[in-house]
Symmetry: C2
Subunit: 477 residues, 2 copies
């Protein structure tokens, strides 16, 4: 459906309608589970990475306790044409939490239970408010873990909505690979369970994976069955420092095509290590050069073979320094530096600075090209630029911390990265999602036919357009 | 959308309309690429596993050469309300090739090219008529392979349509895990490219994986970018013979939860080995007992560790016989027995016999239960029953070869297996798809809400319902 052929969608966020809805929500949830505090509402429309905009805030935040609550909320919103955004960890980068048409926000803080851990089947059922780090802490004693590792505070609801990934995606794949089935509430309040707990299924359309990455626009997830996997034994981290980006990328590509199974291949540029050193979060001082962070695991023979491969490639590619450790404290400390780089970047912001990021991904053969072209394009513009990323997946994070007055320039440079990725047969977003910020560029990736296809699907499941409106694509002209 | 609320869909397969369409197809493709031979038409409505039904045949078979041909064909069919089924390898088991409303069949035999092998990116572009064995033969010299391994004659088009898998799914995942992006022609002829070649993307709804497994009902795939992976080094096969199904399953589960990476875990029952022995296809005579076929690979230390694990578990679980080989000829010969079991079953059929199969999947903890309950339920009914399957994935294939007069009984027993799987939190189909044969049972798995959701999506993309009508769910009352 082209955007021109969508019949007009009318939301009703008049004070009368919202107030009548609030009375219904109150009868349903109790008044304590409804928040109309303005500060809370603004805070729910953004994240630490995508600043909230008070013009795009919900009027109410609701705290349901279970699936039936969510179903009842959506029946009320559907009847009253009130937009609905849902919220879990609040770490998104693409503006998917903004409420451009107002309405309500569903916060899953009180739906954070974990149950039904099946050890033989290696699966577990969780509610959307569960954090991935909380889940892994609970599972640790059982010998299992859940691989997707986005921002440390991210929670399952948002991780499903955004189809997230992280450093583990290189070995383990992204969120979609770890969701077995979902309980989803559709716009009209219908509760759909997309499947049971088999490891695989061909039973009709893959509704589970249509919902993963749909950013809350097709339905709201209230339960998820997640796959688990054994915790890798004997983890090692290697830190490789290079004089030159090309040599670092070359080394990573040689590892990726060697057939040896590594757990993670991460690239970090000199600027990223600058903010690490400035943050004061870590004891060690890092050499500010292009650096690879590698993780691998396995029995003695495997990790020895991996270490030997790293050393031989380092020599060939003139590595300045190689450090490898299997000491658990050292492994955690080094990997923590990589995981906290987002935080270091945020810490480096001065009052009034804005944070702009791209997470384009390209075929791996184009990695050096996109990194170097981006570094060249941003060298002389007076913006602080950090480039790092999941190099094993071809996923490059380019971030600017820039003063408000250079916003337009920064935004242009970010778009340049995304268009560069498309020219290199890549994607405008490898893991952060489209949200509001990329919706007009999505058409350059999947064409008007692809966007129309998405809009058709959206309107077939949510004809009033109440679920997270305006995200991923414009819903009406 | 409930089925009752679908406005009536009218197909026009009158001789006048088909004849006018034929003239248009002829101008497009040339008369040599249109086949109206009745035998050809019947043959295209079934497979060796799902017998063709002359009441459900297309009136014409078309042989396009490229995407634009397919787009033009669909524009004609859309304008004229003519149903369209597509055909590649003809190995499906669920009746997805039947043409219950007649119409045309698109056969991809002339769209079987392979191009753009990117070695660093480990991806390749193929047309739907390419067979997976042909693809792997071409890739062998490069050190890569494409893991999904359904029936030996299956081709990429059907493999995508049915969301297939096979013995490699245990380690490598199913078809959806190996499709990077697709070129799809929608019902109205619109050509959509669902993405480029990044290893991951969060750019809007996952159209690629909505199409995988949609059985040709949402769009027709004309090109696919597929991921590849290095050929595993030093492959080993182990054959373990047990006196008892429970002990075989127990052994497989211990391996699956050990953290050791095996390439395949397959179970075969005594009846399956009976037909292997009867087939005359193999030199060796097989002991007719519950048997595990295991495959693993890796460096010397890894394969030694795997062999030691197998031996220790075999001892604990009173294995009657253990054979392990890394001799390439022996490895191929043993694995070939597993791969050709479908053929052996077909060979065991007498004239007039029918083949009935279920491929339900359950959480692995319920594997022994479903196998043993099924064996007990079928022990005294006078039907030949073979049970084998991808035990590592909890996917159990139960097949009956039975005389026509026992069809009703056989069909009832197959449904019992599927309902047993649902009771055990599994799925009615792990890899063969819904087609015509399971559409009325799908509602027991995903509920009426789930089926309505699928029907909404279908009608939003194909409002005239011309693409493979009646498959997966009933399209109208």
């Amino acid at each position: 459906m082209t955007i021109a052929s969508v019949s007009h969608i009318d939301y009703d966020t008049t004070p009368e309608n919202l107030s009548a809805a609030q009375a219904e929500f109150s009868a349903l949830l109790g008044p304590d589970n409804i928040d109309e505090d303005q500060e809370t509402c603004v805070a729910h429309s953004g994240s630490r990475f995508a600043s909230a905009d008070s013009a795009h805030k919900p009027s109410l935040v609701l705290y349901p306790k279970h699936t039936e609550h969510v179903s009842s909320i959506l029946k009320i919103c559907s009847k009253r044409c009130i937009p609905v955004v849902s919220y879990s960890g609040g770490t998104g980068l693409s503006g998917a939490l903004a409420a451009p048409h107002g309405g309500i926000c569903i916060d899953f803080k009180d739906m954070a239970k974990i149950w039904d851990l099946h050890e033989t089947d290696m699966d577990v059922t969780v509610q959307p408010g569960v954090g991935w780090m909380q889940l892994n802490a609970e599972l640790a004693g059982k010998g299992f873990f859940f691989p997707p590792d986005p921002a440390p505070d991210a929670r399952i609801g948002g991780m499903i909505a955004m189809g997230c990934s992280g450093t583990n995606a290189y070995r383990y794949g992204t969120m979609k690979d770890w969701v077995v089935s979902l309980t989803v509430v559709l716009a009209d309040g219908t509760i759909v369970k997309t499947g049971n707990r088999p490891r695989k299924s061909s039973a009709g359309y893959d509704l589970t994976h249509l919902i993963v990455g749909s950013e809350g626009t097709l339905g709201i997830v209230t339960e998820a069955v997640l796959r688990l996997t054994p915790i890798p034994k004997n983890p090692h981290v290697a830190i490789l420092t290079f004089s030159d980006t090309h040599l670092a990328v070359e080394t990573a590509l040689s590892i990726a095509t060697s057939g040896a199974v590594f757990d993670a291949l991460e690239f970090v540029d000199q600027s990223s290590l600058e903010v690490v050193n400035q943050s004061g979060l870590f004891e060690d001082r890092w050499a500010e050069y292009p650096t690879l962070f590698l993780r691998f695991s396995g029995d003695e023979a495997t990790t020895q073979a991996h270490s030997a491969l790293i050393k031989s490639l380092s020599e060939r590619n003139k590595c300045l320094d190689v450090k490898i450790s299997s000491d658990p404290e050292q492994v955690d400390a080094w990997w923590n530096v990589r995981k906290l780089m987002g935080k270091c970047l945020i810490m480096s912001m001065k009052p009034g600075d804005i944070f702009l990021a791209s997470d384009a991904a390209v075929p791996r053969s184009r990695l050096a090209d996109i990194i170097v072209e981006t570094q060249e394009a941003t060298a002389d513009v007076g913006l602080f630029c950090s480039t790092l990323g999941h190099i094993g997946d071809g996923n490059v994070h380019v971030a600017f911390v820039c003063p408000q007055e250079l916003r337009a320039k920064g935004e242009q440079l970010i778009q340049d990265v995304q268009r560069r990725a498309l020219r290199m047969e890549g994607t405008i977003t490898g893991e952060h999602g489209v949200g509001l910020s990329l919706r007009d560029m999505l058409i350059e990736e999947v064409g008007s036919g692809g966007v129309d296809m998405m809009r058709n699907i959206k309107l077939s499941l949510d004809p009033k357009g109440i679920l997270n409106p305006e995200k991923i694509f414009r819903i009406q002209a």
